[in-house]
C-alpha cells in the first residue's frame, strides 16, 4: 500500500497585458516543474480578471507573474486587488522580469511577496516559494 499522496504545490505562471515575451515565464515554469510543482501556464496577453479567475478555479498556492513590458505598475496591483476582493488571502504572489528597483516598494505594498529581477537564481526562486507558501 502506498502512502497517502503528498500535497503538491500548484503554481500559476501568468503573463499580463500586451507583454509578448514569455521565455522567462517558460524557464521559470520549467524550473518549477522540475522541482516537482504542478504549474498552470496561462499563455500570453491575459487580463487581470482572467488571471484572478484562473487562480481561483485552479486553487493555486502561488501566482508568479512575469512582466517585461513595463505595465507591472498598473496590472499587478489590479490583479492583487481582484484577488483580495474575492477573498483570496492564502496565495503567495511573486513577480519577476524587468521591474526597476524604484517600482518594487509599490508592488510589495500591493501584496506581492517578492520581486525577482533579471539574473535571479532559479534555485532561489524555488526555495523561496517552498518556504513561503501560505498553506
Amino acid at each position: 500500500m502506498e502512502a497517502a499522496p503528498e500535497r503538491r504545490i500548484r503554481v500559476l505562471v501568468a503573463k499580463l497585458g500586451l507583454d509578448a515575451h514569455d521565455r522567462g515565464a517558460k524557464v521559470v515554469a520549467r524550473a518549477y516543474r522540475d522541482a516537482g510543482f504542478e504549474v498552470i501556464y496561462t499563455g500570453l496577453y491575459q487580463r487581470p480578471e482572467a488571471v484572478a479567475a484562473a487562480a481561483i478555479q485552479e486553487d493555486v498556492d502561488v501566482v508568479a507573474i512575469s512582466s517585461l513590458a513595463g505595465a507591472h505598475g498598473v496590472l499587478i496591483p489590479e490583479l492583487t486587488r481582484l484577488l483580495r476582493e474575492q477573498g483570496v488571502d492564502d496565495v503567495l504572489i511573486l513577480a519577476g522580469g524587468i521591474i526597476p528597483e524604484d517600482d518594487v516598494p509599490a508592488l510589495l505594498e500591493a501584496g506581492v511577496s517578492r520581486v525577482f529581477g533579471p539574473g535571479s537564481d532559479l534555485n532561489e526562486i524555488i526555495e523561496y516559494t517552498k518556504v513561503n507558501v501560505k498553506r
Binding site: 503528498e6 500548484r10 516543474r33 522540475d34 516537482g36 504542478e38 504549474v39 481561483i56 486553487d59 474575492q86
Partner: protein, 400 residues
C-alpha cells in the same frame, strides 16, 4: 474541528454556489486529504445530473481548442459548463506543466464556466487518479455539462469511456496508417468522431476511413445505422419545420459552416455524404420514430457514431458536434441505457471501494505485526514465492 466538520463546512459553501469552495474541494479530493471521503459522501446525492462528455485523441489533434469552442457553443445554448483537462505528470520530478488553459481563452471569465487542470500524477490511461471524484464534485455543484479532456496519449484511453456518458474522439487528417492503429482502441470507444483541422488535405479520406470501419461494426443492425447526409438533412429540416423552426437561425448558421467545409474538399472525389446517399440503412429519424412508437425494443436500437468535420480554431462545424452530443444523451435516455449505466457505475464503484478498503486494512494489519516486511524479505531472497506469501497474509490478516 474534525475532518468531517471541515468537509461539511466546505460543502455547505459549495452547495450555495461558492466557486472558491468548489476549487478547494477539488484540491482536497485530488490530494486525498482526510476530508475527501466525507466530502464525496455529502456530494453523492447531488450527482448524476450532469452530462459528462469525454474528449480524447492524439496529442496535437486540437482537443483543447475544440473544448474551448464547445464551451462557447454550449453557453450560447444556455447551458453551464465545467471543464476538466488532464495533462501528464513528469515521471522524473513528479511535477507537471498544465497548458490547456492557453487554448481556452474564450470563456475564462464567464461565470457559467469553470475550468480545472489536473496532472495525471503517475496514473496511466489518460486520466488522473481523482478524475471521477472531481467530475462528481462539478456535477454536484450543478453544471449541466462536464467536458473531460484526456491526456493526449492516443491509443488506450478506454478509461474515459467508463467515466463519460458520451465519448468524443478527435482525430486529424493525414494520420494515414495511424487510422489502422486506432481501429482496436479508439474506434470502439467513440460515440461521436470529430475530424478536426478539416481544412487540411486528406480530411475526407480520414472521414471515409473511419466511416468504413464503423460500418463494418454496425452492418445490419437495427437503429441509427447511418446519419442522414447533408442533402437529406437539409431537405428533412426544410420539409418538417419550414420557416417556423425556432432554432432556424442556428441551423442556418450550421449549414453555412457545413458549406464552408464542403468547399474545403480539395480532393474532387465524392464526399462521404454523397456516398452515404447510396446506402440504404435506416436513418436517424427513422430510428427515433421506431423508439418513440415502440415498433422495436428500444434496447435494440443501436447508435452508429457520426463522423464530423471541424476546424475548431475557426469554430467551423462545432455547432453540429454539440447537436450530436446532445442527441447521444437523448439516445441513452430513450433506450434505457442511461439507467442501466447508472447501475453499472454503482456496481463498479462499490466493488472498487471494497477492494481498496480490504487491501488497505489487510496490509495495515500485516504491517502492524511485521508480517509484511518479513514476507517481503523472504520473497526477495527467493525463500518464498509471492503467491504463497500473499496467501499467508490473507489467511492471517484478512477480514475481521
Amino acid at each position: 474541528m474534525t475532518a468531517e466538520e471541515r468537509a461539511a463546512e466546505l460543502f455547505a459553501r459549495l452547495a450555495t454556489g461558492d466557486r472558491r469552495a468548489l476549487a478547494r474541494a477539488i484540491t482536497w479530493v485530488e490530494d486525498g486529504a482526510p476530508e475527501a471521503s466525507a466530502l464525496m459522501r455529502l456530494a453523492y446525492p447531488r450527482t448524476g445530473r450532469a452530462h459528462v462528455v469525454g474528449i480524447t485523441g492524439p496529442p496535437g489533434a486540437g482537443k483543447s481548442t475544440l473544448v474551448d469552442r464547445l464551451a462557447v457553443e454550449l453557453r450560447a445554448r444556455g447551458q453551464t459548463v465545467a471543464i476538466v483537462a488532464v495533462d501528464p505528470t513528469s515521471p522524473f520530478s513528479g511535477g507537471a506543466i498544465l497548458g490547456d488553459r492557453i487554448r481556452m481563452q474564450r470563456t475564462l471569465t464567464d461565470p457559467g464556466v469553470f475550468m480545472r487542470s489536473l496532472a495525471a500524477r503517475g496514473h496511466l490511461g489518460g486520466l488522473s487518479p481523482a478524475t471521477a471524484e472531481v467530475v462528481g464534485l462539478l456535477d454536484a455543484f450543478g453544471f449541466d455539462v462536464v467536458l473531460v479532456e484526456t491526456v493526449g496519449a492516443g491509443q488506450s484511453e478506454v478509461e474515459i469511456m467508463e467515466l463519460a456518458h458520451t465519448t468524443c474522439v478527435v482525430v486529424i487528417p493525414g494520420m494515414g496508417d495511424e487510422i489502422q492503429a486506432i481501429k482496436a482502441g479508439i474506434l470502439e470507444i467513440g460515440d461521436v468522431f470529430v475530424c478536426n483541422k478539416a481544412d487540411r488535405d486528406g480530411a475526407d479520406r480520414t472521414v471515409n476511413e473511419i466511416e468504413m470501419m464503423l460500418d463494418l461494426g454496425h452492418m445490419g443492425e437495427p437503429g441509427i445505422n447511418r446519419w442522414p447526409s447533408e442533402t437529406e438533412g437539409a431537405q428533412a429540416s426544410q420539409s418538417a419545420d419550414g420557416a417556423a423552426a425556432p432554432d432556424g437561425k442556428a441551423s442556418v448558421g450550421a449549414r453555412a459552416g457545413d458549406a464552408a467545409l464542403r468547399r474545403l474538399d480539395r480532393t474532387g472525389h465524392h464526399s462521404a455524404e454523397e456516398l452515404g446517399n447510396v446506402a440504404s440503412y435506416l436513418t436517424r429519424a427513422a430510428a427515433h420514430a421506431a423508439a418513440r412508437h415502440g415498433t422495436a425494443n428500444p434496447g435494440d436500437i443501436s447508435w452508429r457514431p457520426p463522423v464530423l468535420k471541424t476546424v475548431a480554431k475557426d469554430g467551423l462545424g462545432v455547432a453540429e458536434v454539440v447537436d450530436r452530443l446532445g442527441e447521444h444523451l437523448t439516445f441513452l435516455k430513450e433506450t434505457g441505457r442511461w439507467q442501466a449505466r447508472r447501475e453499472h457505475d454503482a456496481a463498479r464503484r462499490l466493488e472498487e471501494l471494497v477492494r481498496e478498503r480490504v487491501v488497505r486494512a489487510t496490509l495495515a494489519r500485516a504491517r502492524a505485526v511485521g508480517d509484511f516486511e518479513r514476507l517481503v524479505r523472504q520473497v526477495a531472497d527467493r525463500q518464498l514465492d509471492p503467491y504463497t506469501a500473499a496467501d499467508e497474509i490473507l489467511r492471517s490478516h484478512w477480514g475481521g
